[in-house]
Symmetry: C2
Subunit: 244 residues, 2 copies
């Protein structure tokens, strides 16, 4: 008896953005441990009869401790089954994958990682733009906008983030963006740099907004939606579709 | 008669890493315009009878001009068909997507963008590591290692790339990495920073190597493989599998 764990990136939430490999692993799973963001219609692809176990965080509710998730994962695998650990987007991008990999390795359980569509790529596609531009946007960077205490991470590299030639994507940055934008503009980033706010990408609640860095900071200083959102700014292409 | 263009990211080359949406678009395509990197077994998923047109670049051979590709795309769509423009990885990441979007929009042809698994995420999954690490690798950045003339881009942001807390992925950087590594070490990046060389990710020729920044620079100063490769460096997790 020895189980197998597939760490599967679900993409942003739209079942059509699952990979063929992810869909296959769901179809054959004995248990699926899922985050709230990766739930919904994707779970309908799991094998009927599979255990579906929600282990995700959700704003405003207490979330299971990471060591509890790791223990569940090991317990399900030790029971001999095929376990899918479904993580939204790509599990290796701000997904706390490492802690779970360490636990599974320590338990000598075999595993694989199945990449998923990271949310920034789904957001850019939904907006109808590329993330890079020939000659003018040749660096793309992803950062988290909040630290464990909910504030802007103290070691954030402001010089790198104020580079007008980079396309920057901020995860979980709605509450801290007014402070971040002020710091970036102080370092010379133009307030009229194009910015996108992409809420609930890949779900029926998806909403896309095109603004500028200064206007987005002002908007978020007023009110922050409870929907998960990405912020993208930089020399974005003057194309784009589907904005709200 | 009016056609429709789906700009489809193929992922790194492994058909299992196509999204369900990409597979659907291939099955219904009248024509597929593909890059060399996105070819191979993925094309077997196209509708039998679809026109399969290679328009990609390949090292050492003259490549079609970008305006020729755009014109072909418009011509196929104007003929009234469903056209898939297949781009390796995610088309919006160093894929010259914008030029083709502009051409299709100028011709008033309807289109959509289907995101694909970007090669760095496939490479990290194949190596068994996440790209981010809690607290120690909280910024991820992607850059191209060569300019139109094959040299290191002159406007590359060395300070951002020398940040020891970022995970950096260099596309098309095999030939210029010795020069880049020297510049980064001059700016204080430790020579023993972990580095990966991921060749031909998602294909049967895949080869993964784990080294350090200094050792990789030395290796690439000697000989460069003709296979497409990604370079990843930064505070990478001490996990990892499948290295050659």
């Amino acid at each position: 008896m020895s189980g197998f764990v597939s760490f599967v990136g679900s993409g942003p939430g739209d079942p059509e953005l699952l990979t063929l490999k992810a869909a296959d692993r769901l179809k054959r799973a004995d248990a699926v441990l899922f985050d709230d963001l990766s739930a919904g219609p994707i779970l309908a692809l799991a094998r009927p009869g599979a255990d579906l176990v929600g282990v995700g965080k959700r704003a405003g509710r207490p979330s299971p401790r990471q060591d509890h998730v790791s223990r569940l994962l090991v317990d399900y695998a030790r029971a001999g089954g095929r376990v899918v650990r479904l993580k939204s987007g790509d599990g290796g991008l701000f997904g706390r994958l490492e802690e779970e990999l360490v636990a599974v390795r320590a338990a000598s359980i075999a595993y694989e990682i199945v990449p998923g569509i990271p949310s920034p790529f789904a957001a850019a596609a939904a907006c109808g733009i590329p993330l890079t531009r020939r000659l003018t946007a040749r660096r793309v960077q992803f950062v988290t906008g909040h630290d464990v205490d909910g504030r802007l991470p103290p070691d954030i590299d402001l010089a790198a983030l104020a580079d007008p030639k980079a396309c920057t994507v901020v995860f979980m940055g709605q509450r801290t963006f007014p402070a971040l934008a002020a710091a970036l503009m102080e370092r010379g980033l133009a307030g009229d740099t194009p910015a996108l706010l992409a809420e609930a990408v890949g779900t029926p609640e998806q909403a896309l907004h095109r603004l500028t860095v200064a206007a987005l900071a002002e908007r978020l200083a007023g009110a922050v939606s409870s929907r998960p959102a990405l912020i993208v700014y930089g020399p974005l292409a003057e194309l784009g579709v589907g904005f709200d």
